[in-house]
Symmetry: C2
Subunit: 401 residues, 2 copies
């Protein structure tokens, strides 16, 4: 399939070709494509082949490339597919291959607006049971619209960035006044994030069937969460400091064209959705996440059961005329499956802290200082090989005193 | 006070000198200062006088200037004060004066993250009574922390931008399922917005007494709101499409240094706030808003009674380690006074639509197509003259069918 040596089980086979921004030593960050355990430095290769827009690969973010739109994304993908398949291109490409272990990966794009949805029925049900034990777990609006809210774009960080334990106000149910201190219920949220390339116009909703015209691809998102801060602050305007301290994303953006091989039908939506959320090409993706706490696999959330299609999320987000911009990121919300070991957060995995996990012989509920969380994700490509999203990782540092 | 002719009652006297971005004909947008009813084109004047950073005034946004920090902001202000006071500078400045009526004002800065607070006790109480008539109007957290959430940065628009009536889902209490259509409860929110200049570092909270090191100045904010969309969507993650279609801001950014003349003590906070919200220099500003519907004054919300100081908003927003960036905007939330004609939204002015206003002989509750809303704001300067923020305006266009 490729003249480039690709290790068995690599997430980055010759049909994946995700894009990211890498830095080699002190050189300027620039755009690369992942294949196997190497990076192709795209700017010099594209430039030598006089590819249209070659200079965009010399930029320190993917934004200018993302703004080009789907026809250009497709043309670039086809060019890349040829490069790695054609032995004839070997001499042109080989000098620009670098081991991924020798480069540092950067935030792949400058984030414009960040929206976080709440699209997993199992997760919303679990959190309803935990936060509101005496009511129906799913709220009345949940099956009529993809519930979502805006997160903080300026604190989206590259994979590998240390996460400082946030401090803030929390008020346990039995306390009369809030206290201040480091979060005692620090958590993760395993999510899939959609990266917008082509902007839309203010006042012009994006129809549900135009999803692929606007969204370039996907990343893994870990929306770090401080459950104690969140519980005290979130009524009535939603989560704020419980989420805004950091959100980590994976370095490689996998295109929708690569991911098409993993498309699956959407679960049945009952009650029927309103016409603006109804479309002929609504799909989900059969992606499996793997959550590692200090190197031990603790959960495998499945994306395929997510209730809302990303096309519905985009249509909903813009139906009021709100525009999207290049670099917008919208994420699925925590992905949780039906089985206990498929839950996408520790508040669910430990059922509110009452049922600790045992990791490396030690009981774990929420995150402790020094803990390292790594989330990987993969689908199966058209040729049966692994089509991976790579991974996102972060280590918890102690609170600032 | 100045060799420049300043009309009586002008919001832009010689001690105000707000900055904005203007466009003259087809020329590139660039930075200007307002004085009286004129604009000073700053780039050529600063360049001729070899002012440090003069080239930043040739940029199409204020962001590069905002990033300089308070010592540079002060130096620039002092330079400007001298320019307009000194008859000697007349020959250098006069060729670069243009009537404001001859230029079009642009969005003054590129917005990074947008946070909206909920800091008026009167407004929060009014909305509590309207939305949750059977419970305590103020929620338990309200006096312990400045409640806030993230809004959509990408749909913040310049004053004068038409507002297309948003469509979306709404479910009246007596309906069994939601319906889709144009908002029937389109509203305004009168707010003061704080513009961040100097960024902070991820993981490093901004102390409450460092407010002036980070915030450059203020604008008027009209956070257009679709109350019917908001009511159906906002539990549990907060407002989303009910707000995200548009937020208008005034074109002139008034510096904290100019506004210092209008500083007043903060209202007494009881219960006492936690130490991270407690400071020695907590102030509010004695600013009065004027809300005009189709040219008729309908409300005069007073800012001075706002419960939370902007220094507390900034300290709270970063206490979890979240960083701020140049161009961040955080707003007060709707400003409402105790009197009926001091309320900062139509849902309050018309008490949920049940008590229509009479404007120009016609009953008004929420906004109708063609309505024009203009919000002005002013304080009193040190010399007793009017220290104005200018105005923000927008006209409602019919929904897209």
């Amino acid at each position: 399939m490729s003249w480039i040596d690709i290790p068995d089980g690599s997430p980055f086979g010759p049909e994946n070709l995700p894009l990211g921004v890498f830095r080699y030593g002190d050189e300027e960050p620039r755009v690369g494509a992942a294949i196997g355990d190497q990076v192709i430095d795209l700017a010099p290769v594209a430039s030598a082949q006089m590819l249209d827009g070659a200079q965009l690969f010399a930029e320190p973010t993917l934004n200018a490339f993302l703004a080009l739109g789907r026809p250009a994304w497709r043309a670039t993908r086809n060019w890349l597919l040829d490069l790695v398949r054609n032995e004839n291109d070997r001499d042109a490409v080989e000098p620009h291959l670098t081991p991924q272990s020798a480069v540092s990966m950067q935030l792949p794009f400058e984030v414009a607006d960040y929206v976080d949805f709440y699209a997993s029925e199992q997760h919303a049900t679990n959190l309803g049971r935990l936060f509101r034990p005496d009511s129906e777990p799913l709220l009345p609006n949940w099956k009529h619209l993809p519930v979502g809210y805006h997160g903080r774009a300026g604190t989206i960080v590259a994979s590998g960035t240390d996460i400082v334990r946030p401090s803030g106000q929390r008020k346990p149910p039995d306390a009369s006044v809030p206290t201040f201190g480091p979060s005692q219920r620090l958590d993760i949220e395993v999510e899939l994030g959609y990266v917008v390339g082509t902007p839309s116009k203010l006042g012009a909703p994006v129809p549900v069937d135009s999803f692929e015209d606007h969204v370039y691809g996907v990343v893994i998102v870990n929306d770090w969460s401080a459950r104690d801060l969140q519980a005290w602050e979130y009524v009535p305007l939603g989560p704020f400091l419980g989420k805004s301290f950091a959100t980590s994303i994976s370095p490689w953006v996998v295109s929708l064209d690569a991911l098409a091989a993993a498309a699956v039908p959407l679960p049945v939506q009952d009650p029927a959705v309103l016409p603006y959320l109804s479309g002929s090409r609504l799909v989900n993706f059969d992606i499996t996440f793997e959550v590692y706490l200090n190197g031990q696999l603790v959960s495998t959330p499945p994306y395929k059961d997510i209730y809302w299609s990303p096309a519905q999320m985009l249509a909903h987000m813009t139906v009021n005329g709100a525009s999207v911009r290049t670099g917008d990121l919208f994420a699925s919300g925590t992905v949780s499956g039906a089985a206990k070991d498929q839950r996408g957060s520790f508040i669910e995995l430990s059922w509110g802290g009452r049922e600790p996990l045992v990791v490396d012989g030690k009981e774990h509920t929420f995150l402790e200082d020094g803990d390292v969380v790594t989330i990987a994700a993969w689908a199966t490509g058209g040729d049966g090989s692994r089509l991976g999203l790579g991974e996102v990782t972060g280590r918890i540092r102690p609170a600032v005193s």
